[in-house]
Protein backbone atom coordinates (compact mmCIF):
# COMPACT_ATOMS: atom_id res chain seq x y z
CA UNK A 1 0.00 0.00 0.00
CA UNK A 2 2.95 2.29 0.74
CA UNK A 3 3.77 2.54 -2.94
CA UNK A 4 0.43 4.07 -3.68
CA UNK A 5 0.40 7.85 -3.43
CA UNK A 6 -3.33 8.22 -3.94
CA UNK A 7 -4.11 6.40 -0.76
CA UNK A 8 -1.28 6.95 1.65
CA UNK A 9 -0.19 10.43 0.80
CA UNK A 10 -3.21 12.52 0.06
CA UNK A 11 -1.18 15.73 0.22
CA UNK A 12 0.27 14.84 -3.16
CA UNK A 13 -3.09 14.88 -4.82
CA UNK A 14 -3.26 17.67 -7.41
CA UNK A 15 -4.89 20.79 -6.11
CA UNK A 16 -7.88 20.74 -8.42
CA UNK A 17 -8.71 17.14 -7.45
CA UNK A 18 -8.39 18.14 -3.88
CA UNK A 19 -10.72 21.08 -4.31
CA UNK A 20 -13.18 18.90 -6.13
CA UNK A 21 -13.05 16.38 -3.32
CA UNK A 22 -13.61 19.06 -0.73
CA UNK A 23 -16.54 20.39 -2.65
CA UNK A 24 -17.91 16.89 -2.59
CA UNK A 25 -17.40 16.56 1.10
CA UNK A 26 -19.19 19.77 1.82
CA UNK A 27 -22.08 18.22 -0.02
CA UNK A 28 -21.75 14.81 1.57
CA UNK A 29 -25.16 14.96 3.15
CA UNK A 30 -26.56 15.29 -0.34
CA UNK A 31 -25.48 11.77 -1.24
CA UNK A 32 -27.69 8.83 -0.72
CA UNK A 33 -25.02 6.44 0.39
CA UNK A 34 -21.75 5.16 -1.05
CA UNK A 35 -23.21 3.88 -4.32
CA UNK A 36 -24.64 7.31 -5.05
CA UNK A 37 -21.29 8.90 -4.33
CA UNK A 38 -19.49 6.34 -6.51
CA UNK A 39 -21.86 7.04 -9.36
CA UNK A 40 -21.16 10.75 -9.04
CA UNK A 41 -17.39 10.13 -8.97
CA UNK A 42 -17.61 7.85 -11.96
CA UNK A 43 -19.08 10.67 -14.02
CA UNK A 44 -15.74 12.49 -13.81
CA UNK A 45 -14.20 9.72 -15.91
CA UNK A 46 -16.32 10.90 -18.82
CA UNK A 47 -16.60 7.43 -20.34
CA UNK A 48 -19.40 4.99 -20.88
CA UNK A 49 -20.22 3.40 -17.55
CA UNK A 50 -19.48 0.04 -19.15
CA UNK A 51 -15.91 1.09 -19.79
CA UNK A 52 -15.29 2.68 -16.48
CA UNK A 53 -12.03 2.07 -14.65
CA UNK A 54 -13.05 0.58 -11.35
CA UNK A 55 -9.48 0.84 -10.15
CA UNK A 56 -9.46 4.57 -10.77
CA UNK A 57 -12.89 4.87 -9.21
CA UNK A 58 -11.73 3.02 -6.11
CA UNK A 59 -8.81 5.45 -5.83
CA UNK A 60 -11.11 8.46 -6.18
CA UNK A 61 -13.39 7.11 -3.51
CA UNK A 62 -10.55 6.38 -1.14
CA UNK A 63 -9.18 9.89 -1.65
CA UNK A 64 -12.60 11.23 -0.85
CA UNK A 65 -12.82 9.28 2.37
CA UNK A 66 -9.30 10.25 3.32
CA UNK A 67 -10.10 13.90 2.73
CA UNK A 68 -13.24 13.67 4.76
CA UNK A 69 -11.30 12.20 7.63
CA UNK A 70 -8.56 14.82 7.44
CA UNK A 71 -11.26 17.46 7.59
CA UNK A 72 -12.71 15.61 10.58
CA UNK A 73 -15.99 15.01 8.86
CA UNK A 74 -17.80 12.08 10.32
CA UNK A 75 -18.78 9.68 7.60
CA UNK A 76 -21.54 7.18 8.15
CA UNK A 77 -20.46 3.62 8.72
CA UNK A 78 -21.54 2.43 5.29
CA UNK A 79 -19.13 4.87 3.63
CA UNK A 80 -16.29 3.38 5.66
CA UNK A 81 -17.39 -0.18 4.94
CA UNK A 82 -17.36 0.65 1.24
CA UNK A 83 -13.93 2.24 1.62
CA UNK A 84 -12.56 -0.90 3.22
CA UNK A 85 -14.07 -3.05 0.52
CA UNK A 86 -12.71 -0.82 -2.27
CA UNK A 87 -9.26 -0.83 -0.69
CA UNK A 88 -9.44 -4.61 -0.69
CA UNK A 89 -10.67 -4.65 -4.28
CA UNK A 90 -7.93 -2.25 -5.31
CA UNK A 91 -5.19 -4.40 -3.86
CA UNK A 92 -6.70 -7.44 -5.54
CA UNK A 93 -6.82 -5.63 -8.87
CA UNK A 94 -3.21 -4.51 -8.56
CA UNK A 95 -1.68 -7.76 -7.37
CA UNK A 96 -1.58 -10.96 -9.37
CA UNK A 97 -3.97 -13.56 -7.94
CA UNK A 98 -2.37 -15.93 -5.51
CA UNK A 99 -2.34 -19.50 -6.76
CA UNK A 100 -5.16 -21.55 -5.32
CA UNK A 101 -7.00 -18.49 -4.13
CA UNK A 102 -10.70 -19.15 -3.55
CA UNK A 103 -13.64 -16.88 -4.17
CA UNK A 104 -14.57 -14.62 -7.05
CA UNK A 105 -11.85 -12.92 -9.05
CA UNK A 106 -11.10 -9.25 -8.64
CA UNK A 107 -12.29 -8.69 -12.20
CA UNK A 108 -15.65 -10.24 -11.39
CA UNK A 109 -16.04 -8.02 -8.35
CA UNK A 110 -15.10 -4.95 -10.34
CA UNK A 111 -17.47 -5.90 -13.13
CA UNK A 112 -20.28 -6.30 -10.63
CA UNK A 113 -19.64 -2.89 -9.13
CA UNK A 114 -19.66 -1.40 -12.62
CA UNK A 115 -22.94 -3.21 -13.27
CA UNK A 116 -24.46 -1.84 -10.08
CA UNK A 117 -23.47 1.68 -11.05
CA UNK A 118 -24.80 1.30 -14.55
CA UNK A 119 -28.05 -0.14 -13.25
CA UNK A 120 -28.50 2.67 -10.74
CA UNK A 121 -27.77 5.24 -13.45
CA UNK A 122 -30.25 3.51 -15.74
CA UNK A 123 -32.96 3.54 -13.06
CA UNK A 124 -32.37 7.22 -12.37
CA UNK A 125 -32.67 7.90 -16.05
CA UNK A 126 -35.82 5.80 -16.24
CA UNK A 127 -37.26 7.65 -13.25
CA UNK A 128 -36.56 10.97 -14.93
CA UNK A 129 -38.19 9.82 -18.14
CA UNK A 130 -41.18 8.55 -16.20
CA UNK A 131 -41.65 11.84 -14.41
CA UNK A 132 -41.25 13.72 -17.69
CA UNK A 133 -44.26 11.91 -19.12
CA UNK A 134 -47.59 13.61 -19.45
CA UNK A 135 -49.30 13.19 -16.11
CA UNK A 136 -52.92 12.95 -15.09
CA UNK A 137 -54.08 16.15 -13.45
CA UNK A 138 -51.17 18.10 -14.91
CA UNK A 139 -51.05 17.47 -18.64
CA UNK A 140 -54.21 15.56 -19.24
CA UNK A 141 -57.38 15.54 -17.26
CA UNK A 142 -60.17 13.33 -16.09
CA UNK A 143 -63.82 14.22 -16.45
CA UNK A 144 -64.33 17.17 -14.20
CA UNK A 145 -67.97 16.47 -13.63
CA UNK A 146 -68.57 12.77 -13.16
CA UNK A 147 -72.32 12.47 -13.29
CA UNK A 148 -74.62 11.15 -10.69
CA UNK A 149 -77.92 11.00 -12.42
CA UNK A 150 -80.16 9.41 -9.86
CA UNK A 151 -80.80 9.89 -6.23
CA UNK A 152 -80.80 6.22 -5.57
CA UNK A 153 -78.40 5.69 -2.75
CA UNK A 154 -76.36 2.59 -2.33
CA UNK A 155 -74.00 2.69 0.59
CA UNK A 156 -70.72 1.30 -0.46
CA UNK A 157 -68.28 0.50 2.30
CA UNK A 158 -64.69 0.85 1.53
CA UNK A 159 -61.38 0.29 3.17
CA UNK A 160 -57.88 0.21 1.82
CA UNK A 161 -55.21 -2.35 2.38
CA UNK A 162 -53.38 0.29 4.35
CA UNK A 163 -56.38 0.67 6.68
CA UNK A 164 -56.42 -3.07 7.13
CA UNK A 165 -52.73 -3.30 7.87
CA UNK A 166 -52.88 -0.35 10.25
CA UNK A 167 -55.80 -1.86 12.11
CA UNK A 168 -53.98 -5.13 12.47
CA UNK A 169 -50.78 -3.41 13.49
CA UNK A 170 -52.76 -1.48 16.09
CA UNK A 171 -54.25 -4.62 17.58
CA UNK A 172 -50.91 -6.32 17.66
CA UNK A 173 -49.20 -3.31 19.14
CA UNK A 174 -51.78 -3.27 21.87
CA UNK A 175 -50.92 -6.89 22.57
CA UNK A 176 -47.25 -6.18 22.61
CA UNK A 177 -47.70 -3.45 25.10
CA UNK A 178 -49.83 -5.49 27.43
CA UNK A 179 -46.86 -6.93 29.35
CA UNK A 180 -45.64 -3.41 30.00
CA UNK A 181 -48.82 -2.34 31.69
CA UNK A 182 -47.70 -2.02 35.26
CA UNK A 183 -51.06 -2.16 36.96
CA UNK A 184 -50.59 -5.72 38.26
CA UNK A 185 -47.47 -4.72 40.09
CA UNK A 186 -49.14 -1.89 41.88
CA UNK A 187 -52.32 -3.60 42.87
CA UNK A 188 -52.45 -5.24 46.24
CA UNK A 189 -55.67 -7.21 46.56
CA UNK A 190 -57.78 -7.43 49.65
CA UNK A 191 -57.35 -11.21 49.66
CA UNK A 192 -53.61 -10.80 49.80
CA UNK A 193 -53.93 -8.25 52.58
CA UNK A 194 -56.28 -10.46 54.53
CA UNK A 195 -53.89 -13.39 54.34
CA UNK A 196 -51.08 -11.19 55.46
CA UNK A 197 -52.96 -9.57 58.33
CA UNK A 198 -54.11 -12.93 59.65
CA UNK A 199 -50.49 -13.82 60.11
CA UNK A 200 -49.61 -10.47 61.62
CA UNK A 201 -52.38 -9.72 64.13
CA UNK A 202 -50.76 -12.09 66.57
CA UNK A 203 -48.09 -9.43 67.00
CA UNK A 204 -50.55 -6.58 67.41
CA UNK A 205 -50.84 -6.81 71.17
CA UNK A 206 -50.67 -3.06 71.52
CA UNK A 207 -52.10 -0.21 69.45
CA UNK A 208 -50.25 0.15 66.18
CA UNK A 209 -51.00 2.26 63.16
CA UNK A 210 -52.38 0.61 60.09
CA UNK A 211 -49.58 2.00 57.94
CA UNK A 212 -47.00 0.16 60.02
CA UNK A 213 -48.49 -3.09 58.74
CA UNK A 214 -47.91 -2.26 55.10
CA UNK A 215 -45.64 -4.75 53.39
CA UNK A 216 -42.12 -3.81 52.51
CA UNK A 217 -41.69 -2.07 49.24
CA UNK A 218 -45.29 -0.88 49.08
CA UNK A 219 -44.56 2.45 50.59
CA UNK A 220 -42.31 3.76 47.90
CA UNK A 221 -44.57 4.97 45.12
CA UNK A 222 -47.87 6.72 45.84
CA UNK A 223 -49.58 4.30 43.49
CA UNK A 224 -48.40 1.21 45.35
CA UNK A 225 -48.95 2.79 48.74
CA UNK A 226 -52.54 3.72 47.92
CA UNK A 227 -53.31 0.25 46.68
CA UNK A 228 -51.72 -1.53 49.62
CA UNK A 229 -53.29 0.84 52.13
CA UNK A 230 -56.72 0.38 50.63
CA UNK A 231 -56.35 -3.39 50.62
CA UNK A 232 -55.15 -3.51 54.21
CA UNK A 233 -57.84 -1.14 55.34
CA UNK A 234 -60.48 -3.36 53.81
CA UNK A 235 -58.79 -6.39 55.35
CA UNK A 236 -58.78 -4.97 58.89
CA UNK A 237 -62.41 -3.97 58.53
CA UNK A 238 -63.10 -7.58 57.69
CA UNK A 239 -61.07 -8.75 60.69
CA UNK A 240 -62.91 -6.25 62.94
CA UNK A 241 -66.21 -7.58 61.68
CA UNK A 242 -65.08 -11.05 62.65
CA UNK A 243 -64.15 -9.72 66.09
CA UNK A 244 -60.44 -10.39 65.71
CA UNK A 245 -59.19 -6.79 65.96
CA UNK A 246 -60.29 -3.47 67.42
CA UNK A 247 -59.89 -0.28 65.43
CA UNK A 248 -59.70 3.30 66.56
CA UNK A 249 -59.13 6.70 65.08
CA UNK A 250 -58.50 9.86 67.13
CA UNK A 251 -60.32 12.15 64.75
CA UNK A 252 -61.22 12.46 61.10
CA UNK A 253 -58.13 11.84 58.93
CA UNK A 254 -56.04 10.87 61.95
CA UNK A 255 -54.02 7.64 61.61
CA UNK A 256 -56.09 4.50 62.02
CA UNK A 257 -54.78 2.23 64.78
CA UNK A 258 -55.55 -1.37 65.51
CA UNK A 259 -55.01 -3.94 68.23
CA UNK A 260 -55.58 -7.63 68.55
CA UNK A 261 -58.75 -8.49 70.41
CA UNK A 262 -59.82 -11.43 72.44
CA UNK A 263 -57.76 -11.19 75.63
Amino acid sequence: MADDPGWDQPERVPTEDRLAAEALIVDVVGFEGPLDLLLMLSRTQKVDLRRISVLHLAEQYLVFVEQAQSLRIELAADYLVMAAWLAFLKSRLLLPPEPGEAGPSAEDLAAHLAFQLERLAAMRDAAARLMARDQLGRDFFARGLPEDVTHQRVVHYTATLLDLMRAYAMIRTKDEFRPFVLDREHVYTMEQALDRMRGLIGYAGDWATLTSFLPEGWNETPMARRSALAAHFAAVLELAKRGQVTLRQGETFAPIELRRRGE
Binding site: F141, A142, R143, G144, L145, E147, D148, V149, T150, H151, Q152, R153, V154, V155, H156, Y157, T158, A159, T160, L161, D163, L164, M165, R166, A167, Y168, A169, M170, I171, R172, T173, K174, D175, F177, R178, V181, L182, D183, H186, V187, M223, R226, S227, L229, A230, F233
Partner: protein, 208 residues
Protein backbone atom coordinates in the same frame (compact mmCIF):
# COMPACT_ATOMS: atom_id res chain seq x y z
CA UNK B 1 -50.28 25.38 -34.05
CA UNK B 2 -47.91 27.56 -36.09
CA UNK B 3 -50.68 30.07 -36.59
CA UNK B 4 -50.98 30.63 -32.84
CA UNK B 5 -47.41 31.79 -32.76
CA UNK B 6 -47.95 34.63 -35.16
CA UNK B 7 -49.29 37.73 -33.49
CA UNK B 8 -52.95 37.91 -34.32
CA UNK B 9 -53.94 34.70 -36.01
CA UNK B 10 -56.18 32.54 -33.89
CA UNK B 11 -55.79 28.76 -34.27
CA UNK B 12 -57.92 27.12 -36.98
CA UNK B 13 -61.53 26.52 -36.00
CA UNK B 14 -60.90 22.76 -35.80
CA UNK B 15 -58.32 23.34 -33.08
CA UNK B 16 -60.52 25.81 -31.26
CA UNK B 17 -63.24 23.19 -31.20
CA UNK B 18 -60.82 20.63 -29.72
CA UNK B 19 -59.85 23.13 -27.06
CA UNK B 20 -63.41 23.94 -26.08
CA UNK B 21 -64.13 20.22 -26.00
CA UNK B 22 -61.23 19.54 -23.63
CA UNK B 23 -62.13 22.45 -21.37
CA UNK B 24 -65.80 21.47 -21.10
CA UNK B 25 -64.79 17.88 -20.39
CA UNK B 26 -62.32 18.72 -17.63
CA UNK B 27 -64.20 21.46 -15.78
CA UNK B 28 -66.18 20.58 -12.71
CA UNK B 29 -68.76 23.30 -13.41
CA UNK B 30 -70.54 24.68 -16.46
CA UNK B 31 -68.30 27.13 -18.32
CA UNK B 32 -69.42 30.54 -19.56
CA UNK B 33 -68.50 32.01 -22.89
CA UNK B 34 -66.39 34.61 -21.11
CA UNK B 35 -64.37 31.91 -19.38
CA UNK B 36 -63.82 30.09 -22.65
CA UNK B 37 -62.66 33.30 -24.26
CA UNK B 38 -60.23 33.85 -21.41
CA UNK B 39 -58.78 30.36 -21.74
CA UNK B 40 -58.54 30.15 -25.51
CA UNK B 41 -55.69 31.74 -27.49
CA UNK B 42 -56.13 35.36 -28.37
CA UNK B 43 -58.46 35.97 -31.29
CA UNK B 44 -60.37 32.70 -30.91
CA UNK B 45 -64.09 32.54 -31.38
CA UNK B 46 -65.45 30.11 -28.78
CA UNK B 47 -69.06 30.91 -29.72
CA UNK B 48 -68.48 29.50 -33.16
CA UNK B 49 -66.50 26.56 -31.77
CA UNK B 50 -69.45 25.79 -29.52
CA UNK B 51 -71.78 25.67 -32.50
CA UNK B 52 -69.51 23.12 -34.20
CA UNK B 53 -69.15 21.14 -31.01
CA UNK B 54 -72.89 21.08 -30.36
CA UNK B 55 -73.42 19.73 -33.87
CA UNK B 56 -70.72 17.12 -33.42
CA UNK B 57 -72.30 15.78 -30.22
CA UNK B 58 -75.82 15.86 -31.57
CA UNK B 59 -77.42 12.47 -31.05
CA UNK B 60 -74.34 11.12 -29.30
CA UNK B 61 -74.22 9.50 -25.85
CA UNK B 62 -73.13 12.85 -24.44
CA UNK B 63 -74.54 16.20 -25.50
CA UNK B 64 -73.51 19.80 -25.23
CA UNK B 65 -76.07 21.55 -23.06
CA UNK B 66 -76.54 25.22 -22.24
CA UNK B 67 -77.30 25.90 -18.59
CA UNK B 68 -78.14 29.53 -18.01
CA UNK B 69 -75.36 31.29 -19.87
CA UNK B 70 -72.86 28.49 -19.36
CA UNK B 71 -72.09 25.29 -21.25
CA UNK B 72 -71.64 21.76 -20.01
CA UNK B 73 -71.42 18.21 -21.38
CA UNK B 74 -74.25 15.98 -20.15
CA UNK B 75 -75.20 12.38 -20.62
CA UNK B 76 -78.00 12.06 -23.18
CA UNK B 77 -81.29 12.01 -21.29
CA UNK B 78 -82.32 8.61 -22.67
CA UNK B 79 -79.17 6.94 -21.30
CA UNK B 80 -79.53 8.00 -17.68
CA UNK B 81 -80.59 4.49 -16.73
CA UNK B 82 -77.09 3.24 -17.53
CA UNK B 83 -75.70 5.33 -14.74
CA UNK B 84 -78.26 4.43 -12.13
CA UNK B 85 -76.06 1.90 -10.40
CA UNK B 86 -73.32 4.45 -10.12
CA UNK B 87 -74.77 6.62 -7.40
CA UNK B 88 -73.14 4.95 -4.53
CA UNK B 89 -72.25 6.53 -1.29
CA UNK B 90 -68.86 5.54 -0.09
CA UNK B 91 -68.35 5.10 3.60
CA UNK B 92 -65.37 4.06 5.58
CA UNK B 93 -65.70 0.82 7.48
CA UNK B 94 -66.03 1.23 11.22
CA UNK B 95 -63.01 0.55 13.32
CA UNK B 96 -64.60 -2.55 14.80
CA UNK B 97 -65.30 -3.88 11.32
CA UNK B 98 -61.84 -3.19 9.94
CA UNK B 99 -60.21 -4.76 12.99
CA UNK B 100 -62.40 -7.81 12.74
CA UNK B 101 -61.68 -8.06 9.05
CA UNK B 102 -57.94 -7.74 9.65
CA UNK B 103 -58.06 -10.51 12.23
CA UNK B 104 -59.97 -12.81 9.91
CA UNK B 105 -57.50 -12.06 7.12
CA UNK B 106 -54.45 -12.72 9.24
CA UNK B 107 -55.73 -15.61 11.32
CA UNK B 108 -58.19 -17.42 9.10
CA UNK B 109 -59.90 -19.75 9.67
CA UNK B 110 -60.84 -18.08 12.93
CA UNK B 111 -63.79 -18.42 15.28
CA UNK B 112 -65.73 -15.56 16.79
CA UNK B 113 -64.32 -16.38 20.22
CA UNK B 114 -60.80 -16.16 18.84
CA UNK B 115 -61.53 -12.80 17.23
CA UNK B 116 -62.81 -11.53 20.55
CA UNK B 117 -59.75 -12.83 22.32
CA UNK B 118 -57.41 -11.06 19.89
CA UNK B 119 -59.37 -7.82 19.86
CA UNK B 120 -59.90 -7.90 23.58
CA UNK B 121 -63.53 -6.84 23.12
CA UNK B 122 -66.73 -8.53 22.13
CA UNK B 123 -67.54 -8.61 18.43
CA UNK B 124 -71.04 -7.44 17.76
CA UNK B 125 -73.36 -9.44 15.60
CA UNK B 126 -73.79 -6.44 13.30
CA UNK B 127 -70.08 -6.23 12.56
CA UNK B 128 -69.87 -9.83 11.41
CA UNK B 129 -73.11 -9.49 9.46
CA UNK B 130 -71.81 -6.42 7.70
CA UNK B 131 -68.63 -8.15 6.63
CA UNK B 132 -70.63 -11.17 5.46
CA UNK B 133 -72.94 -8.89 3.52
CA UNK B 134 -70.03 -7.11 1.89
CA UNK B 135 -68.91 -10.58 0.84
CA UNK B 136 -65.50 -9.94 2.34
CA UNK B 137 -65.74 -12.82 4.80
CA UNK B 138 -67.64 -16.09 4.64
CA UNK B 139 -68.17 -19.11 6.81
CA UNK B 140 -65.36 -21.62 6.74
CA UNK B 141 -65.29 -25.17 8.01
CA UNK B 142 -66.51 -25.81 11.55
CA UNK B 143 -63.76 -26.16 14.12
CA UNK B 144 -63.50 -29.75 15.44
CA UNK B 145 -63.54 -28.62 19.06
CA UNK B 146 -66.29 -28.81 21.65
CA UNK B 147 -69.28 -26.87 20.45
CA UNK B 148 -68.03 -27.19 16.85
CA UNK B 149 -67.89 -23.39 16.40
CA UNK B 150 -68.07 -21.95 12.89
CA UNK B 151 -64.99 -20.27 11.53
CA UNK B 152 -64.61 -17.28 9.25
CA UNK B 153 -62.35 -16.92 6.25
CA UNK B 154 -61.88 -14.11 3.71
CA UNK B 155 -63.39 -14.32 0.24
CA UNK B 156 -62.23 -13.85 -3.31
CA UNK B 157 -64.07 -10.55 -3.30
CA UNK B 158 -61.93 -9.48 -0.34
CA UNK B 159 -58.71 -10.31 -2.18
CA UNK B 160 -60.03 -8.51 -5.20
CA UNK B 161 -60.98 -5.40 -3.29
CA UNK B 162 -57.65 -5.15 -1.51
CA UNK B 163 -55.62 -6.02 -4.58
CA UNK B 164 -54.14 -9.14 -3.10
CA UNK B 165 -53.36 -12.32 -4.94
CA UNK B 166 -53.82 -14.40 -1.81
CA UNK B 167 -54.22 -13.86 1.91
CA UNK B 168 -50.68 -15.14 2.28
CA UNK B 169 -49.48 -11.97 0.58
CA UNK B 170 -50.51 -9.85 3.54
CA UNK B 171 -47.40 -8.45 5.12
CA UNK B 172 -46.31 -10.07 8.36
CA UNK B 173 -45.62 -8.33 11.63
CA UNK B 174 -41.97 -7.84 10.76
CA UNK B 175 -42.88 -6.23 7.50
CA UNK B 176 -45.51 -4.06 9.10
CA UNK B 177 -42.85 -2.89 11.45
CA UNK B 178 -40.44 -2.24 8.60
CA UNK B 179 -43.13 -0.23 6.85
CA UNK B 180 -43.49 1.88 9.96
CA UNK B 181 -46.99 0.68 10.64
CA UNK B 182 -46.17 -0.93 13.91
CA UNK B 183 -44.45 1.83 15.72
CA UNK B 184 -47.32 4.19 15.98
CA UNK B 185 -47.72 3.56 19.64
CA UNK B 186 -51.27 3.58 20.80
CA UNK B 187 -52.24 7.14 21.52
CA UNK B 188 -52.21 8.02 25.19
CA UNK B 189 -55.53 7.06 26.60
CA UNK B 190 -55.88 4.15 24.23
CA UNK B 191 -53.96 1.22 25.66
CA UNK B 192 -53.43 2.74 29.05
CA UNK B 193 -56.98 3.59 30.02
CA UNK B 194 -57.67 0.43 32.04
CA UNK B 195 -54.69 1.24 34.11
CA UNK B 196 -55.49 4.87 34.56
CA UNK B 197 -59.06 4.20 35.31
CA UNK B 198 -58.26 1.64 37.94
CA UNK B 199 -56.08 4.13 39.71
CA UNK B 200 -58.48 6.98 39.43
CA UNK B 201 -61.22 4.80 40.76
CA UNK B 202 -59.15 3.78 43.69
CA UNK B 203 -57.92 7.17 44.64
CA UNK B 204 -61.44 8.49 44.55
CA UNK B 205 -62.48 5.83 46.97
CA UNK B 206 -59.63 5.93 49.37
CA UNK B 207 -57.69 9.12 49.30
CA UNK B 208 -60.25 11.67 50.26
Amino acid sequence: MEETDSLFDAPPMGDQERMVEAILFAMADPVTLAELTARLPHGSDPAEALVHLARRYEGRGVNLVKVGDAYVMRTAADLGHLMRRETVETRKLSRAAIETLAIVAYHQPVTRAEIEEIRGVAVSRGTVDQLLELDWIRLGRRRMTPGRPVTFVVTEAFLDHFGLESARDLPGLKELRAAGLLDNRPAPGLAVPDDDEALTGQSELFED
